[in-house]
């Protein structure tokens, strides 16, 4: 099982609408998450090229000049820019087949080009290969409490992100959100902690969260602060 950014391709009509007035487009696939799960890899970029060329009718009869290419990882600005640079002059727009981070990296690298997202970026997901289904397990909240909850994240898997669950919307271990199909995260937590003889962790009160660690936009690391410090020395 792999933990990756989960994406879903937008409806073709929506992509074509965004390409309105564009005569030539460079379709850029990504061999990172998008490629691994075949949402926006090499193959999908090629297919997109064919689809766009065939979509003359949807474009009121105007043909589009499209080329498909793929980069190793669109979220790496340097790799993406150097791979795309030699080709970019011939195109009005870039259609990114990557996640939202990839789209923004390209938009930043090619500020004078129109950069269009081909996908909706959904969540950080884990895939169940047998079912071919993706699940959201971590929302990257920035303040991990998985020790206390026996490895089940209530921030992500409880529809209300409760720290002191369960709520009244649970029955027979299921959650009312989504029609009683999903497991109630807090009953999962209770069961696991009970098995481990750690119900003290369940009953424990958890204080309200400090959302400053979760609020966007977040940053981590880097050397700019050090440089600033050195300057002031």
């Amino acid at each position: 099982m792999n933990l990756l950014i989960v994406m879903e391709q937008k409806p073709l009509e929506e992509i074509i609408k965004m390409l309105d007035g564009v005569n030539s487009v460079l379709i850029v696939g990504c061999n990172g998450c998008a490629g691994i799960y075949q949402v926006g890899g090499e193959k999908q970029a090629e297919i997109m090229k064919v689809l766009l060329e065939m979509a003359k009718k949807l474009r009121n009869g105007t043909k589009i000049n499209a080329k498909a290419m793929t980069v190793l990882r669109q979220c790496d600005g340097q790799i993406a820019a150097t791979t795309i640079q030699p080709l970019i002059d011939n195109y009005d727009a870039i259609l990114s087949m990557a996640c939202g981070a990839g789209v923004q990296t390209l938009a930043d690298a090619f500020k004078n080009k129109l950069v269009i997202p081909a996908n909706n970026t959904k969540f950080i997901g884990m895939q169940d290969r047998e079912l071919g289904k993706f699940y959201e397990l971590c929302t990257a909240c920035g303040d991990c409490i998985l020790f206390e909850t026996s490895g089940v994240c209530p921030i992500t898997r409880c529809a209300k992100s409760l720290l002191n669950g369960p709520c009244g919307g649970t029955a027979k271990g299921k959650c009312e959100v989504g029609g009683w199909k999903r497991d109630c995260a807090w009953i999962l937590i209770y069961n696991r902690l009970k098995e481990k003889g750690r119900l003290d962790l369940y009953t424990k009160f958890r204080e309200e969260r400090d959302f400053r660690v979760s609020n966007p936009p977040r940053e981590l690391g880097g050397t700019e602060e050090k440089k600033e410090e050195e300057k002031t020395k």
Binding site: K160, S161, L162, G165, G168, E176, G178, I187
Partner: protein
């Protein structure tokens, strides 16, 4: 406990009286008439009435205004319900200050149904706090005169804080431990969701006894057979014993709507009598939204007052 008592509800509970509370639901309207009429009917029969806060995530009139109005216009004490679904801690603190300024004495701290089950399911759910952290917020405001971030409050509020429990929870243990969490934080009274089975009523009161929190068992008569059938079918966890279902259906066949009302009065009057006799419940919370007139009749039937 030598805690100060601010409300009639808490006064009666501390005096050991078997108390009744009612429920009023402001709806999607700008008219307060119905809520005030309902309050007039309940007055004298219940010590206080809950004012619901956008129940099942339906966007209704805000609960604070009717809470104030039933106290001010009718003289019926309010239990101001507050959910954490629609307001972050800033808004909750702000509304709590306003509630105290308007003379509200009881607050019921709830998490609130999820936005997606409501009438504006596209809404962003808030849940900055949950019912437990809301209890803590209220306690800090009342006991320490500060908010969650220790900011001082000028002229701190005086509230009693209540919580809810689900007597139909299955399994029950996680529910009990969750209540324990909130009692330790300083919750002072508890109202349960509706319970129709006397055995379940007895069970929850017994299981909660060690926490020494006054428990008001929730009962909800059926406005119609259709309502009963809907609840049995679509509200998971709700258990209505066959005997009650049969009695109400038979009444309908025999005498229509009026007979159903009469049967309700008998069934729920007897349930209250049984609760009083066989449990250590502090009282009963009667939910009859839209047909409040039945509440005095059920209470009279119980013979408890």
């Amino acid at each position: 406990m030598t805690k100060e008592v601010y409300s009639d509800l808490m006064r009666q509970i501390t005096e050991g009286k078997f108390v009744f509370t009612g429920e009023l639901e402001p709806v999607k309207t700008t008219n307060l008439h119905e809520v005030l009429e309902g309050a007039k009917i309940l007055k004298g029969h219940v010590v206080a009435a809950n004012i619901t806060d956008n129940p099942t995530a339906f966007a209704y009139m805000n609960a604070l205004v009717p809470s104030y109005m039933i106290q001010h216009e009718v003289g019926l004490e309010a239990i101001y319900q507050m959910t954490t679904r629609d307001r972050n801690r800033i808004a909750l603190i702000s509304d709590l200050l306003a509630a105290a300024a308007l003379g509200i004495k009881n607050v019921l701290a709830l998490t609130g149904d999820h936005t997606t089950v409501g009438d504006n399911p596209q809404a962003k759910p808030v849940f900055d706090l949950d019912s437990a952290t809301l209890v803590r917020l209220i306690r800090k405001m009342v006991d320490e005169g500060v908010d969650l971030n220790k900011n001082k409050i000028e002229n701190p509020p005086k509230f009693h804080v209540g919580i809810a429990a689900n007597p139909n929870a299955d399994p029950l243990e996680p529910e009990i431990l969750k209540i324990e969490r909130k009692v330790k934080l300083g919750a002072e009274f508890l109202q349960t969701q509706c319970v129709y089975d006397i055995e379940r009523a007895k069970r929850i009161v017994k299981e909660l006894a060690y926490l020494k929190i006054p428990v008001l068992l929730g009962i909800a008569p059926f406005k119609s057979i259709a309502m009963m059938e809907w609840m049995v079918k679509f509200v998971p966890g709700i258990y209505v014993p066959d005997e009650i279902q049969q009695r109400l259906r038979k009444a309908k066949d025999k005498g229509g709507k009026e007979a159903v009302y009469q049967e309700n009065i008998e069934i729920f009057g007897d349930i209250i009598k049984e609760i009083k006799k066989t449990t250590k419940a502090a009282g009963v919370h009667v939910m009859a939204v839209g047909f409040e007139w039945i509440v005095p009749k059920i209470i009279a039937q119980s013979g408890v007052r």
